[in-house]
Amino acid sequence: MRGANSAKWVAGAIVIALAATACGGSDDDSSSSSGKGSGKAGGTFRLGITEPVAIDPYNSQESEGILVTDNLFTGLYEPTADGKVIPALATSKEVSADGKTWTFKIKPGTKFSNGEAVDAEAFIRGWNRVVQKTAASDVAYHLAGIAGFEDVQAGKAPTMSGLSAPDANTLQVKLSAPDFEFYVKTTHTVFSPVPKVAGDAKNKTYNDAPIGNGPFKMQGTWQHNTSITLVRNDGYGLTKAKLDEVKISILNSNNGVTLEYQGFEAGTFDWARMPTPQLPAAKAKYDAQGEWIDENTNGMNYLLPITDNGPLKDKKAREAISYAIDRDAIIKGVFQGMQTKSTTILPPAFASVYQKDLCQSCIKSDPAKAKQLAKEAGLTPGTTLELGYNTGAGHEEWIQAVKQQVEKVLGVKVKATGKPFAELLADQQKAGATGMYRFAWGADYPTPDNFLYPLLDTASINKDASGKVTGDNRGRYSNPAFDALLAKARATEAEAGRNDLYKQAEKLAMDDMALIPLWNRTQLRLANTKKFADIKMDFHEDPNLAEISMK
């Protein structure tokens, strides 16, 4: 009977997996409603998320965890939804001419919700806590530029030598290499200050009920897989939140999106994602009522071509693939018009560097041109082309469409292989990988560098002894001219000049078809604008809880 028991599980797993593939996608276009309203205080905002990895800033990483952490903590700077960086607790910043020493002035007199002062020491404490080897933080790498990072990671020193506090409200940061964008990185929650009671990163009590200095504070502790409740922090040092309370239900990841949507329909939630098949119906119903939000966020969807090996080694072959794909047809047929085509490497959310239509082959499918380019590149009919993607995330349909289009136009054989994400990643990393892969990227902080450097710089290939790629440049794109432009941009203090260099670098990589852009990351949400005003989607694709008010 044990046999029957586990057979039941397997059957269950299959059903769930099938159901899960139906959700997961996302997509498209309208606009947020709600102007600057009168903004009354009070109210409880309710939403559903899936179980976060962590809510303690030391390891908070995905949208769900950051939603909580970002509202419990306030750091030096904050990202805006359209890719700008605005000061939070920092009152001024100063960088030395060599780009290696940063001095931040911190707003005096603000406090953690337990009454401890938020001073330079609190930042130093928080940053050192993350970097400890025993913390095994997934996000500690954001601090890798600070002098002494390596020693702490190796367990040779307890604190980073680059951090100091000349006085209570001055934080000085010495970097191991020039970085004129260091302040941009401090928008990430991993750079949060923590109070003395935080202890080390493995302090379970603090992990589940962090005491912070943000617009909200925890009410009780994190009820794992059940709920998290936030209440307004009336002692907040910056503009206080208006909502009294935020009730976050933790939903299971297999059915979460459906539950969010049903919860919105039933009036249980004030903010929700939607299952892809329901999008047209949801849009028809809620767009007219001003409850539909859509936004191109800071992520992008690409095909990742392996550029140092196999049939896509020649840039013309990559261009041929791009011309062969009819993005408009896929968006209409598969995504029900809820995605927008992308024609750049950088996302449109980075408004100040966005170069629309940079990718000529992305604008319109052109079979004749595709055939011509494929011929020149030696991508002959009959060639087998690998196309890897991860299963269970709703990619099956569009991958099949791409396969058919490419096969039809170029006469090649596309071998589409679906695998669980971890295996797909291992495939991309292994020595001798060829062909192309489904690929997506989201920025941790609003700078073009956060796309261009990890994805395309030669240094980000980082092969180990066996030839395995350990960096994020898994397409193995390497162009000294590109690297030089990026290095120059990174060494430029003035934002305008820097952005100009980033644009040049992006153009170079685009001309080489280092990545094949597909569609933007378009996020759709439902928001209860009948009851609440000023609701928007923030940089992390979460509701801007600290600004929402009652109507």
């Binding site: 599980w9 990483q61 995905e62 897989n225 049903q262 997506a440």
Partner: protein, 308 residues
């Protein structure tokens, strides 16, 4: 009797160890590094972090050493730490097990009440309109997958009518729909089983004898008919209760019921091996214990059965 129980408990240890060993071997030779992925976009995890996590979870040791360590901790009630949040598996599964047990008990109670009463009624009034419609409805209930039933009930009673909460809390209300969904198929099966065993017993010689010697109808029914016809039903319920504990995946997913079925499916998707092994170990143990309880119940119900 006492020795029998001891021997069966000894078997339990062997079965649980065997199950963990098989699972361990299967899971840990699967491709893909369990700590090699990060939630979110397509970022690779920092190699230094992977190395540290490998050390923390002892993943660099040979499989046999890992298993030895696991069993060593298991006998102390320690199921290890999970891979995503580094929390003790026993701490994660404790409340979930309680939730699933609550759901399973509610379902089994429904099974007993609905199943036996419908079955008995149908058998007593054989070929009546009651019997025919009971057969029809139970067959239909067995045929409809619980995922369909659950989703329809959720749509109608939660979203449209708003009678029950969408997100389960501790209230009795939130238990109703999941318990019904989980119970319905088994209740129908129990009804059919109860009906057929009842009919069999009704025609047995000892029942005719009991009636012939003039015993009151009630006494015949309770002392002779019910007691004898309930044995196969109990066997079935015992087994299905064990199944309910692990097989609640679909119901728990639909209704966001925070139980071990949900923990299992999520752990499988995340390669979170300690949780998978933990859930299976617990389920196997519960299953074996329930089988023992069922066997002991036989002896209590049927004096002819001797346990030795």
């Amino acid at each position: 009797m006492g020795r029998y129980v001891v021997r069966r408990l000894g078997q339990l240890v062997v079965v649980v160890l065997g199950a963990t060993m098989i699972l361990f071997a299967c899971l840990f030779v699967l491709p893909g590094d369990p700590v090699g992925q990060i939630a979110g976009s397509d970022k690779a995890r920092d190699p230094a972090v992977i190395a540290q996590l490998h050390k923390q979870y002892g993943l660099d040791d040979p499989l046999i050493v890992q298993y030895g360590n696991y069993v060593g901790k298991l006998v102390q009630g320690d199921l290890g730490q999970d891979y995503t949040q580094s929390r003790p598996v026993s701490e994660i599964l404790g409340p979930k097990l309680a939730n699933t047990a609550k759901l399973a008990v509610a379902a089994i109670v429904l099974d007993i009440i609905i199943g036996i009463s419908v079955g008995v009624l149908a058998a007593m009034r054989r070929y009546s309109i009651w019997d025919v419609s009971a057969t029809f409805i139970t067959t239909l209930a067995i045929g409809v997958p619980s995922i369909v039933l659950g989703m329809i009930m959720q749509r109608v009673f939660v979203i449209e009518l708003g009678w029950f909460p969408l997100i389960a809390d501790d209230s009795f209300n939130s238990l109703v729909l999941p318990a019904v969904t989980l119970a319905i198929i088994d209740a129908a099966l129990v009804a059919q089983l109860a009906r057929s065993t009842m009919l069999e017993v009704l025609g047995a010689d000892y029942v005719k004898t009991a009636v012939a010697k003039g015993l009151p109808r009630r006494t015949v029914l309770s002392r002779h008919i019910l007691r004898n016809s309930v044995i196969p039903v109990i066997t079935y319920l015992g087994i299905s209760f064990g199944g309910l504990l692990g097989g609640a995946i679909i119901t728990e997913t639909i209704f966001n019921w925070n139980g071990i079925g949900l923990a299992l499916i999520q752990a499988i998707q995340q390669n979170n091996n300690p949780v998978i092994v933990g859930v299976v170990t617990i389920s196997v143990a519960v299953f074996v214990v329930l089988n023992l309880v069922v066997d002991l119940l036989y002896a209590a119900l049927d004096p002819r059965i001797r346990l030795a």
